[in-house]
């Protein structure tokens, strides 16, 4: 019998809260973590709040970098909620990040130089749980969080592992800020996904975790990670495809397992750069998803990079359970060549499945499908 994959616990650490439920309630109420800082609008996690959380969770905060601390604060809570024994060799640890501890290159802050290596940083986290396996770091630019869940799903279906702790995070630093600014991709003001007047993205900090379980059946009212696909545009390393090729192909592969009319919504990347949102509208149109509600969360969190695919999947799960299509904050007037069903207001849905879509530098694109089993 084919093994199925169930999501049994989750956590989101962001400026809007240190658990998934408080994040969802804040977003539903229209609150955003974005703030104006000197010369830039960004969503940043409060350093003090993280240290307080570390103390509460018995994480020795002086041993870890900020990046490792937010991964730990998120994954420790998710693992405790799941009730699993994360020290078992049957548990796989996967970390999704784009730049990890890269800020140590600029200010080492007393940490050994090797901590800038992503495998070494990930080991700090898996060692905290006493897990004997070598952790896997998924480093596929902005699609890493969806790829990490897809790889966990495959590893669980193979029978090698029974559980996967899949976490993602990125710390914002001058390194990343200057890079995105050099691409002229950053908006001075709060971002406006899919809007006619969108002027670029905001950067954001977040850590998020899902605990996935392999099982023969997924009970009613539990989440199944059904399928997912990764496809390349084969077009340009930093420019989206004009035909939305990779996103279209990833969507079509995902749609093999569900009908468009059964989707509650597609949670898009929606970075609010001119090119990304236009590309996604083309891919959605080509995939026959013009009438399916579309929602983007960058107006609440900014672009959280390694965390995005995981955090946005988690909030989508909470929204489906709440019969809600979350409002796309920052959107007002349709601004893509192909109109998509995006709204600045909350909408009601009875769908029990959603697609999470991401695209990133390197021409990579990824989509996955989650389903809430059973019926209302």
């Amino acid at each position: 019998m084919e093994r199925l994959v169930q999501c049994i616990a989750d956590n989101v650490v962001s400026p809007l809260g240190l658990d998934s439920a408080s994040n969802y309630q804040s977003v539903k109420a229209g609150k955003s973590g974005l703030q104006h800082y000197e010369g830039i609008a960004m969503s940043k996690i409060d350093r003090m709040a993280v240290d307080v959380a570390c103390k509460r969770l018995d994480i020795p905060s002086d041993r870890y970098t900020f990046f490792e601390k937010i991964l730990l604060v998120s994954s420790v809570q998710a693992v405790r909620n799941s009730g699993i024994d994360a020290s078992s060799e049957r548990v796989l640890f996967i970390v999704s990040t784009t730049k990890g501890n890269v800020s140590l290159l600029g200010s080492p802050a007393g940490f050994p130089g090797e901590r800038v290596l992503l495998g070494v940083a990930a080991r700090q986290v898996s060692d905290f749980f006493g897990n004997p396996n070598s952790p896997l770091v998924v480093c596929n630019a902005c699609i890493s969080g969806v790829c990490a869940q897809i790889e966990a799903m495959r590893a669980l279906k193979s029978g090698r592992y029974d559980y996967a702790v899949v976490m993602g995070a990125d710390e914002q630093s001058q390194f990343i800020e200057s890079g995105f600014k050099s691409f002229k991709a950053v908006s001075d003001d709060f971002c406006r996904p899919f809007d006619r007047d969108r002027k670029g993205l905001n950067l954001g900090e977040c850590a998020a975790t899902v605990v996935l379980k392999a099982s023969d059946s997924v009970p009613d009212d539990c989440w199944e990670l059904v399928t997912g696909a990764i496809r390349n545009d084969a077009n340009h390393i930093s420019g989206p495809s004009r035909t939305g090729e990779g996103s279209y192909l990833a969507l079509m592969e995902t749609l093999r397992c569900c009908r468009p009319e059964d989707l509650a919504f597609v949670n898009v990347h929606g970075t609010a750069t001119a090119y990304n949102d236009e590309m996604e509208s083309i891919a959605l149109y080509r995939a026959g998803l013009t009438d399916v509600p579309v929602t983007g969360l960058k107006g609440y969190y900014g672009h959280t990079m390694g965390a995005a695919g995981i955090m946005e999947s988690i909030l989508s799960m909470y929204a489906v359970r709440d019969h809600t299509v979350l409002a796309t904050r920052g959107f007002a007037v349709q601004g893509t060549t192909y109109p998509v069903s995006v709204s600045p207001e909350l909408r009601v849905t009875d769908g029990r499945q959603f697609i999470k879509l991401l695209s990133g530098f390197g021409g990579c694109n990824a989509a996955l499908l989650y389903r809430l089993n059973g019926t209302w």
């Binding site: 290596l117 596929n140 193979s158 390393i237």
Partner: protein
Amino acid sequence: MVKDYVILESDRAVVNGRVLEHETAGSAMLAELYRAHIADWPKFFKMDTLSKVGFVASELLLKELGETRHEGEEFVQSRAVVLFGTTASLCADRNYQETISDRDNYYPSPALFVYTLPNIVTGEIAIRNHYRGETSFYVVEKADAAQMAFHLSCAFADTVTESVLAGWVDSRHNDDFQAFFTLVRRDELEGLEDRLKTIMDNLNI
């Protein structure tokens, strides 16, 4: 006997056991190999070291396999590119950090920044060959044939994927790199770990 592999190190290039001749080493050797065996992709000169290494290794392998580029829509979607490494973009990270460390001499460049994402090398290979399948870059603690073989096998869970251009690519400095590439086909997964081990025994990782 293990076939279909390429080894590329700072002072050594090997294709299926044959040592390729070269007069230079390090980054100069990459350019020398490019001119001698590839020569028709000037984008090569814009790439960072990690991408250059991955690009040259992939080209040498594909040439040895004798594959025709762009064999139709079905083929290009069925070919995945899955790479592993420990240092990821560290080399490009250091180069980029240097451009932003001095506030008075501050020149962040998008062409440098983009290579601070290690998966760009998978994108470069996909663009060259029109591959529209999966592209993935995994960072691990150390080169471990069992771990790599497991995750390469997982790639075939995507039913569209029929073959994976797979490899290891690391670069600590512009003149210090280690890589191997091989082709993994859906019907050749048995014994993959041993095949990877045999190739890696010839490599200084």
